[in-house]
């Protein structure tokens, strides 16, 4: 079995995996980083979004081997101890999550949006979230949270 090595949340990791192992399986099964979720099998739902070399990526759509040498960031790496990242804090403040299953993907996706567009409008947020499905919130509060989170990050 091939060995893959990468940096995940700032830590160098490496493990033997079957060649067909997806990045999300590597994170969940090999590294026990279960904050990244799997909600579908057709690259549609975005529950699995992580950052690879600074870009948001659906980790169900990428082989672990393709992330060889990359810098990967997952939801677990965002908070500083008990202090949440401003985007996480905005999700809590604006009730942008219910069951929490889509949430890690939503937050990681939102951070990539803010990187491209530091002051997104409601319309911008709704368009950007095309690849993230939430069944609980009706998106209303997710949109509020992301615009507020973006504003907090500008400060």
């Amino acid at each position: 079995m091939p060995t893959v090595s990468m940096t995940v949340n700032g830590k160098a990791v490496s493990a033997e995996v079957e060649a067909r192992t997806l990045l999300v399986q590597f994170l969940r099964d090999k590294l026990s980083l279960t904050g990244t979720h799997v909600g579908c099998d057709t690259s549609q739902c975005g529950a699995c979004v992580v950052h690879v070399d600074g870009k948001s990526v659906k980790s169900c759509t990428m082989l672990a081997a393709q992330a060889e040498g990359a810098k990967v960031a997952t939801i677990e790496g965002l908070a500083n101890g008990t202090e949440m990242h401003p985007m996480q804090a905005a999700f809590k403040e604006h009730h942008g999550l219910q069951c929490g299953f889509c949430t890690p993907g939503m937050v990681m996706s939102a951070l990539d949006l803010v990187k491209h567009n530091p002051s997104p409008s409601e319309h911008d947020v709704r368009e950007w979230l095309e690849g993230n499905i939430c069944r609980c919130t009706g998106y209303h509060n997710i949109v509020k949270a992301i615009t507020a989170g973006a504003a907090a990050m500008r400060r």
């Binding site: 909600g39 739902c45 908070a79 949440m84 929490g100 299953f101 949430t103 998106y139």
Partner: protein, 788 residues
């Protein structure tokens, strides 16, 4: 205390763990030495299994065991049950064909369970499953409920001739016929309530485990009601004593009804764990969720409304065919009967109602309760009918509703279809909603849209639902196999911190916060010193779980009752410590005071005294730890008005929801932020049903054509607007909190409001859901042709 008590928008206690990726969903759990299960599913809608050859698969790398229907028979594993007996017109119980967890000799829907492969790894299990050879004799499929009763339709079960599960009725047929005879006007409508796939974002999952030392099982499962699952697994399917089974439903990623039921997969994993001597884990792929989660809705209905010359409703006649799918899921039978037809009065004083329901088997996935469960089907029918009547009579639709509303002074109101509504003020919610949407300004907005070449429409829906299921004696008399009370347990620690144990289950509803608010308010405990425990049959008292918007109304009331017991005991302890008579102690928010003095003890001091009873009332038990069970006196009846406004693009047929106002009356509200969130989510699912979602089976082959997120259109952020939310508060008079329940409102209210708006914009009498661009475009072409 107001900042964390009842009525405060407390930020959720559970959010930190979800936001930092530290939730524990079933698939996040791995047990030592676990093996992985993969289910081989039927590729056919209907077939005889002539033979199954597992020889090659058994030799594949990593395979631990392969089990089939023959093993189910050999081990005498029971049938998956339906827990609600509906009696037909003659008083006979519904037809209940066996539902084996692995098919014995016949498969009845695409996705039906044929075999399970258990292997060291999931890829090995999946690879081995490909080597199983099944010889099928393919039989004809029947998928459309309207065709299931046809002579010559494929027969799904020998026990159910003509595919009829039951032919049921409610209401006074003669009185309704008489009302129609005297009518000035009758409005008729044929409608389909489209079939939906719940699609909670977390796919179902299960881990079965067996401990030979204690001869006991553990089942980790994505369940909305762990005790009910345990009861079914033990008493009906596996024949295990209940004290030898623990069910854990940890963090669950949404349910919407689909995780109420006892499914084949958790049954098989639990049974197999003992057989193979290892924990057995299964997690659904989304494709499996589409195929095998219980679907929702799927009604075909003809309805007629009789009115006098002023538009007063005189009678309502309804004839419905409801699809049960291939087998009866856990509560399937009650959905199109007691959760549907009993709501047909809506918000109106219609004096005579008669409804017939034929439930039919088809070669499709089982159909059961999905967010709203029967009530969306009722509201859709009533509100489409009322809107159509208003158009035919040329009465403003808001005005026609107002004329027929049950008035505030008429509560409690006995409807002609069994239910007695407890309280409400329907005109007030209507007035608020009209204000919120600026109803008067609609013509100007329509004109403005027209200038841009768009068609604009507005649609109302005034719904009522029955929540907080329910008085056990009532549901028992209607056929429920269980009681529907709830348990609540409050445990103080010596240092004043509190745990609340509840039999309800949170899978997104925020119970860890709202239940804590109840106790924080009543007993004056800071909210960060309270923890809510749920979802583990070994930790919480027996409870009935979460569905039907019951957790606050029934579960919250049980916690309220337990707090009452804490207060009663606290008074005794305080009286002793303060050297006063018990009747002189008054309590408010955790402070026990001697009336008219400033002598007092706090709940923290009381808790300490109860656990360190050095100076303590003689004869009183130590400890501060109380359990209550609450069985409600009636259902609760949340109601409201939703108004939707749409704009339609003539060229593309795309419907855009441009404005949405929802005013709901949920009685007392514990956490407005959480309640609004529930409303948002419900509206999104309702708009999803009306505009986007549709489960389609191929009529010939019975293949599910909408089996992935690529084919089944889920509402996404750019399909929806932000919503305007208002609330009125008519407290529920019969539970101690005054709460009514809010979880399903949006899903009930939204589809008729939306379809009323769409048909208004298009100027057509009716079109079926979902109003997809293709369908709307076709309607536009037809109306354009007719105008030529």
């Amino acid at each position: 205390m107001a900042d964390t008590g009842i009525g405060a928008s407390v930020r959720r206690k559970e959010d930190f763990r979800f936001l930092t990726g530290r939730g524990t969903y079933t698939d996040d759990i791995n047990r030592p030495n676990q093996a992985h299960a993969y289910f081989l599913r039927s590729p056919h809608a209907h077939a005889k299994i002539k033979s199954i050859d597992v020889a090659a698969a058994k030799k594949a790398p990593g395979v631990v065991s392969i089990l089939t229907g023959a093993d189910i028979v050999a081990d005498k594993v029971g049938s998956l049950i339906c827990g609600w007996v509906v009696k037909d017109k003659q008083g006979n119980p519904h037809k209940a064909p066996a539902h084996p967890p692995l098919a014995k000799d016949t498969v009845r829907y695409v996705g039906d369970h044929v075999a399970v492969v258990i292997a060291e790894t999931l890829p090995q299990a999946r690879d081995a499953a490909e080597l199983i050879k099944v010889d099928y004799q393919v039989l004809p499929a029947v998928v459309d409920p309207a065709r299931a009763l046809d002579p010559g339709a494929a027969q799904v079960h020998a026990e159910a001739p003509k595919n009829l599960c039951y032919d049921w009725e409610i209401g006074d047929k003669a009185a309704t016929e008489a009302a129609f005879k005297s009518a000035h006007h009758v409005t008729k409508l044929d409608l389909i309530n489209n079939r939906l796939i719940p699609n909670a974002m977390e796919p179902r999952a299960a881990i079965g485990e067996y401990d030979p030392a204690y001869e006991s099982y553990t089942c980790y499962s994505t369940s909305q009601n762990p005790h009910v699952l345990r009861l079914i697994l033990c008493a009906f399917v596996l024949g295990v004593p209940e004290h030898k089974m623990r069910v854990v439903a940890p963090d669950v990623g949404g349910g919407f009804g689909s995780k109420i039921y006892c499914y084949a997969e958790e049954t098989v994993c639990t049974w197999a764990a003992r057989k193979v001597g290892r924990p057995v884990k299964w997690t659904a792929e989304r494709g499996e969720s589409f195929l095998s989660d219980a679907h929702g809705r799927d009604h075909v209905t003809h309805a007629e409304l009789a009115m006098d010359k002023d538009g007063k409703f005189l009678g309502l006649k309804v004839d419905t065919i409801a699809n049960m799918g291939s087998y009866l899921s856990t509560f399937a039978t009650c959905v199109p009967t007691y959760l549907y037809a009993t709501l047909l009065a809506g918000q109106y004083t219609t004096p005579a109602i008669y409804c017939e329901v034929k439930a039919v088997f088809t070669t499709t996935a089982p159909v059961d309760a999905y967010r709203g469960a029967g009530r969306p089907e009722a509201a859709y029918l009533i509100e489409r009918l009322v809107e159509t009547a208003a158009r035919e009579l040329k009465i403003d639709p808001a005005e026609l509703r107002r004329r027929n509303f049950i008035k505030p002074h008429q509560f409690p109101y006995q409807t002609p279809v069994a239910l007695q509504y407890d309280s409400g003020n329907y005109e007030r919610t209507l007035d608020e909603a009209l204000k919120l949407i600026d109803y008067k300004g609609f013509p100007a907005r329509k004109a403005e849209s027209a200038k841009r070449g768009k068609l604009r429409g507005i649609g109302l829906s005034a719904y009522v639902e029955a929540c907080g299921i329910a008085p056990s004696a009532v549901v028992g008399s209607l056929g429920a196999g269980v009681g529907l009370w709830e348990s609540g347990h409050i445990r103080f620690d010596p240092t004043g911190s509190v745990r609340i144990f509840t039999g309800s289950h949170s899978h997104g509803q925020g119970h860890e916060t709202t239940n804590a608010q109840i106790v924080s308010d009543l007993l004056g405990v800071p909210i960060d010193k309270i923890e809510v425990v749920h979802g583990d049959t070994d930790r919480v008292p027996f409870g009935m779980g979460t569905y039907g918007s019951r957790s606050a109304a029934v579960g919250g009331s049980a916690i309220f009752k337990a707090a009452d017991k804490i207060i009663a005991k606290g008074k005794k302890i305080a009286a002793h410590l303060l050297e006063a008579a018990e009747q002189d102690i008054e309590h408010a928010h955790g402070v026990f005071k001697v009336k008219g003095t400033d002598k007092q003890k706090t709940i923290g001091e009381i808790a300490f005294a109860a656990y360190v009873p050095h100076n303590y009332p003689a004869g009183l038990e130590p400890g501060l730890d109380e359990t209550a069970f609450y069985d409600p006196a009636n259902f609760t009846y949340p109601a409201g008005v939703h108004i939707g406004e749409v704009e339609i693009d003539r060229d593309t047929g795309v419907v855009t929801v441009v404005n949405w106002a929802a005013v709901d009356d949920f009685g007392t509200v514990i956490n407005p932020m959480v309640v609004e969130g529930q409303v948002h989510g419900g509206i999104a699912q309702g708009i999803g049903q009306a505009l986007l979602e549709n489960a389609v089976y191929d009529k010939e082959t019975g293949q599910l054509l909408t089996g992935s997120f690529m084919d089944y259109c889920m509402p996404r952020a750019d399909d929806l607007p932000s919503f305007k939310i208002g609330m009125t508060h008519t407290p529920c008079p019969h539970n101690p909190l005054g709460v009514k329940g809010c979880g399903e409102a949006g899903a009930i209210a939204a589809p008729p409001a939306l379809m009323n708006a769409v048909t208004d914009a298009l100027g057509v009498r009716h079109m079926e859901m979902p109003a997809s661009p293709a369908r709307v475009w076709q309607v536009l072409q037809k109306t354009a042709k007719a105008a030529e």
